[in-house]
Point group: C2
Chain length 197, copies 2
């Protein structure tokens, strides 16, 4: 039992950032968060994530909100630990121990704030931790992935959170192996493990 | 001294994938690779990375190639360890030890292949390792970041590789601190550490 972790995506630009926002949502889902909040997002993002839940399992949620401020301040009031990813923050190398201890408490809740450009000062002030994954410009998708990987130390890559999956990958040194459930989605899958390629 | 690590981006779709490809290049640069090869890419990607090198240091290179096949097979001939990131591969949790040992050899060379959709069988066969960062669909940007983070175990986040930087971030719990060199780029920076915000 680990803490509830949610993600708040702020500052994305419609259309231009849709693919990056989609990747951020997929990473949040695949790396152990339960939900992502986003503003001004293309409705196709939520539909896409729902389709992925149906095929690959789990109950990750995409929630559209009118603005990020009420979400941020409500979570602060609710006692969430707020972690803001920023290249200006403290190094994840230095704070990962504290974040792991907090996340190990099953009753704890954590909100990870993922900005695009020009995050307002208000977010830096509201955050319990401003955390950098290196002091070089790179990618909020990468920062989110590495932060969650550091917190969970690889345990998030297990399949336990992905109940109800129609398809499940069997790790393979060469090639592709996928197990399909009896409720295959009609694209030629048969129950049981088989080679796709 | 660690191995030379290069990245080969394959299968991206022009325009549609430009931002994702840019993120992949930035992650390769920030997380310890020396070069990324890409095909059919927007020339602005290389210009953008050069501008980032000028400001933030280092000599990361973007190299455009006509096709990925010659690069892949040339690297195989040159004795590179080829690591292909694929959700169908072996778990990074299981192979990270081997990859770290290989990367710890300063004379070794590694090519990380990062695909978009539908990577041909040929790549699976050519790779020494097909590695998954979880068996869930997510993001090649995240997969590249986590793989490099697992190999370098956080050491890649130091500033040693980024010589010649005009700007350098001083990690900060709240707010933004940036050091500018005496060769500031004229956008108002003065030498020495100062608060930007």
């Amino acid at each position: 039992m680990t803490a509830t972790i949610e993600v708040l995506r702020i500052g994305q630009r419609p259309v231009r950032d849709d693919r990056v926002t989609t990747h951020a949502a997929l990473v949040a889902r695949a790396f152990g968060a339960s939900r992502i909040y986003m503003t001004e997002a293309n409705p196709e993002i939520r539909q896409g994530i729902r389709a992925i839940n149906e095929t690959w399992g789990g109950r990750f949620e995409v929630e559209y909100v009118d603005g990020w401020r009420p979400v941020l301040h409500e979570k602060v009031r609710q006692g969430y630990t707020v972690v803001h990813l920023s290249m200006y923050g403290e190094s994840v190398n230095d704070v990962q121990g504290e974040l792991r201890r907090r996340a190990a408490d099953g009753a704890a809740k954590m909100l990870i704030v993922v900005g695009a450009k020009k995050v307002p000062r208000e977010v830096y002030d509201a955050a319990d931790y401003n955390v950098s994954v290196g002091g070089q410009p790179h990618s909020e998708i990468a920062a989110l992935a590495v932060l969650l990987d550091r917190i969970y130390q690889g345990a998030q890559l297990g399949q336990e959170r992905f109940g109800g999956a129609r398809r499940r990958i069997v790790p393979s040194r060469h090639g592709k192996r996928v197990e399909s459930s009896a409720y295959g989605d009609g694209d030629g899958d048969r129950p049981g493990a088989h080679k796709v390629q």
